[in-house]
């Protein structure tokens, strides 16, 4: 039976995992992901899942165990945050390169130093080139729905790549909101049975995985992996549409909010999308033609969709919760800029880095970004490309 209950973002992720009932979960608890592991361990203890829960000694081991279990043909899920994702880093490449369809729920938290347990997107944005699909969720309902979708996307025979489902730490992970939970059987039917391409446990069809690949083959392997990631966009879209048709909720690759006739727009991902929507509504009621472009699927980067959404915008700001020190611009900004260049489209584009280390990104600050965009739109001149929201001493 479908029902609406109050759950945190972490709780919603754990509930989706319970209903998916994966073969293996190998995970190490870390703030702010902890509640996922705690809850899931309870599900294992009370016997409501048949999952083999591997309590590992580190995140490096967690991802290594996940690669092993996925290679053995087991449906595998893990979750982490921040330093945990960083410790997994080398194994993230192995999961993608060996084409293991693992689902990882990453509760976005900043990276040390200085040590800080709070939210920003430095961890997963820093892992953008590992070859994983990355989906960013705005709220807990989307987390629940996306974790279920992620299993199907990862295991699709045309994809066979790991998927990272990202949610903002605390802002989403620790906020209780009403979540519509599907019936257990509906989720089971939707995710179906995992049919691995190869399995190390299939002794009738022996395979050798993780082979040494020398210069005359390596490049071709990496390109075929990158190609699969590019092509996964169609699968991400079709799984989302099927989910929408069955359960009435879908999110798209990107979502334009009040963009049709917009002159200024904020492009962002994760929880900041929600606040930007609220500010847009307020500005619209005052006659300002504001809009929001939500990037839900960050890897593969949706070049066509982003450019189509922005091509008639007079001024846009990319807001992200991560720095790329020494780079021409932060990660998402650079990707949006690159996408526009791909299509030969010029938009007055600026960057706003916001909310590092858990600093709140309130509506009034997002209002100021729109004010900045209005100035650029009316003058047709970009005064400053790289901006830092609510940074003391920066003007």
């Amino acid at each position: 039976m479908r029902k609406t209950i109050g759950l945190t973002g972490d709780g919603a992720a754990a509930e989706a995992m319970r209903q998916i009932d994966p073969d293996v979960v190998a995970a190490y608890p870390i703030t702010p992901q902890t509640e996922i592991v705690e809850r899931f361990a309870e599900f294992v203890a009370e016997g409501s899942v048949r999952t083999e829960l591997v309590a590992v000694e580190s995140e490096h081991s967690a991802m290594s165990a996940c690669c092993g279990s996925s290679a053995a043909g087991a449906r595998t899920i893990t979750c982490t945050s921040s330093q945990g994702l960083a410790l997994m880093h080398e194994v993230l490449y192995i999961a993608a390169g060996n084409r293991h369809p693992i689902v990882l729920i990453n509760v976005n938290r900043t990276l040390s130093a200085p040590i800080n347990i709070h939210n920003d997107q430095s961890d997963s944005l820093g892992s953008r080139d590992c070859g994983w699909i990355q989906l960013y969720c705005e709220g807990a309902q989307e987390v629940y729905d996306t974790v279920i979708q992620a299993v199907r996307i990862a295991e699709d025979p045309a994809v066979l790549l790991p998927v990272m489902v990202c949610l903002d730490g605390f802002v989403v992970s620790h906020n209780v909101e009403p979540i519509n939970v599907l019936d257990d059987q509906e989720v089971k039917d939707f995710v179906g049975e995992f049919r691995p391409a190869y399995s190390l446990l299939d002794t009738e069809n022996p395979v050798c995985l993780g082979n040494l690949t020398l210069p005359e083959y390596f490049f071709e392997h990496k390109y075929s992996q990158a190609y699969a990631l590019e092509q996964s966009k169609g699968v991400i879209e079709s799984v989302d549409q099927e989910f929408g048709a069955k359960f009435g909720r879908s999110y798209g690759i990107v979502e334009g909010y009040r963009l049709e006739d917009a002159e200024i727009a904020i492009v962002t991902l994760g929880s900041m999308v929600g606040t930007a929507r609220a500010v847009t509504d307020e500005l619209r009621s005052q006659g300002v033609k504001a809009g929001v472009l939500k990037i839900r699927c960050y890897r593969p980067f949706p070049i066509d969709e982003v450019v189509a959404a922005l091509k008639n915008i007079k001024a846009a700001a990319v807001m992200e919760k991560a720095l790329s020190p020494g780079a021409p611009g932060p990660a998402v900004f650079s990707d949006v800029l690159g996408a526009l260049y791909h299509k030969g489209v010029h938009v007055n584009l600026i960057s706003y880095v916001a909310g590092l280390g858990g600093r709140d990104v309130p509506a009034r600050s997002i209002r100021r970004v729109y004010e900045h965009l209005e100035k650029i739109a009316s003058s047709g001149r970009v005064d400053r490309i790289l901006n830092y929201l609510d940074l003391r001493g920066w003007q």
Binding site: N98, L160, N205, V207, C208, E216, E220, S224
Partner: protein, 107 residues
Amino acid sequence: MVQINNAIRKLDKGALPVWYEIPLGGTLVSEGSTEYKTGGWRTKRPIWDPEDCSHCLICWIYCPEMAIQVKDGKITGIDTTLCKGCGICAQECPRDKAMTMAEGGDY
């Protein structure tokens, strides 16, 4: 692209596979290593003594190149095109004379 490549491959049988012909994730689905004739690497050679051999097959298990030839559970000889002379078979053999290493690669 596929058609052009197939045409090239017809002309040049030795061409390496292009990116979309490569198995998923570099997985080997055949016993690929026996295609590499590592017999040319040998500087020492194993000498098998059928008189002393108990056919325990430990050498067969340990051989990294599938060079120990076996028929009906009995060792029949050494595939000299595969044996690279590493000496693991002689090292692991539990008997004195069943498998020993001799200097020089040639049989």
